[in-house]
Amino acid sequence: MTFTIPIDNGDSVKNAEADSQRTLYPYVTGTSIVAIKYKDGVLMASDMGGSYGSTLRYKNIERMKAIGKHSLLGASGEISDFQEILRYLDELVLNDNMWDDGNSLGPKEVHNYLTRVMYNRRNKFNPLWNTLVLGGVKNGESYLGMVSMIGVSFEDNHVATGFGNHLARPILRDEWHADLSFEDGVKLLEKCMRVLLYRDRSAINKLQIAKITEEGVTVSQPYSLKTFWEFKAFNNPTAGAEGSW
């Protein structure tokens, strides 16, 4: 009986050639996503920027997409990996629809599927370099969850990715409450996005807010926030400390 040892180029940990097949660092990235549950469902906000390192290169990237009938996916991190995930989900939703049997994938199922995908990729040392936010409504129940690139996954009433965790979540912890109206929800998200705009250098002033309710998904047209740069402290910023910037 002959026995041949297969040549496996897939071991990306030990084999340099296989390295070209796996993600080592991100190239074109999106910044924070902020999302909250509100009275009728979930609201999610993101800007439309795609940074190429420190360059704010792309200004028209939609980082939130509807998935099936009941879910909304927002992503920060590598944009090409986000597009890959959308392809996976497209196939998932297609197969679900082909059954044509009255059952449909809800946000919980999509969230868990994504968790499995992200975690399995992480185990192969070839992650999809994204932090994903999955929101949705099914049978009257709102759902909001997050998955990171290493497969850490959880649900909460409000979530944020990247800088949003540090700048937006504290605001949400103070000001979020159950059953926010649509207007209050949008105001709260805009407050968070404004802070991010001032302080996150990869944020741009062109954002979208997406809403998902039992009826479905709507993504707003892009718009900008009003900003104020005439704070006295900004006029002569180094007044207190000569030589600094």
Binding site: W99, N103, K108, Y113, R116
Partner: protein, 272 residues
Amino acid sequence: MFRNQYDTDVTTWSPTGRLFQVEYAMEAVKQGSAAIGLRSRSHVVLASVNKAQSELSSHQRKIFKVDDHIGVAIAGLTADGRVLSRYMRSESINHSFTYESPLPVGRLVVRLADKAQVCTQRSWKRPYGVGLLVGGLDESGAHLYYNCPSGNYFEYQAFAIGSRSQAAKTYLERRFESFNESSREDLIKDAILAIRETLQGETLKSSLCTVSVLGVDEPFHFLDQESIQKVIDTFEKVPEEEEDGGEAEAEAAAAPAEQGGAGDQDVAPMEM
């Protein structure tokens, strides 16, 4: 059915368009002891007759839990049934793991049917010799399906398979229109009465049947012998009596247990 020159291979058609090997496999289902399933809008009951090879042995298990929300009762080659139950459990648990959500019964049944179909189209395989009554819950409510060795599957309000199942089917045909709105207790009672029909005169005892229930807010589980005996006692006051006893007891869910009430003539069934 008689032997003919087209029945050796599963991949040989007869001139009249039949696959005899597949039909012979369906015969094997008819040889197994009876299994019955019925469903209401919110519950599914699966019941089977406990047949033992001999007095010395224990009876074969014919009802299996596939998941909290799906159960299966089999008739025919129990070994084939066991293997398919394992497949169903595997599919169900894989779905639960990936989606944190119960596998819809309808989808499981189609996968099962496709698996059976493969065996009707390979010359080196044989069809599974077992019929499966799959009961389960999904988003659209309670469902009961029957999967045959041929790879076909059908949805039922109530069904019976195995030997002497025709008697049970006749009983079910008379009552099935009310099952959708039946209470859980009435559904169980109808299942046991249907089992009784297949026994053709033998006294119905709880040791002779296995009953399982699943429903909205009620994961799949077996009823214990005591509970089954209690239900039997509500109608088995006089064993020779027809189902008149059963019909009069529509409200008496768990009547006081009277062990060995077979010869009890004191309380006429109509008076309950």
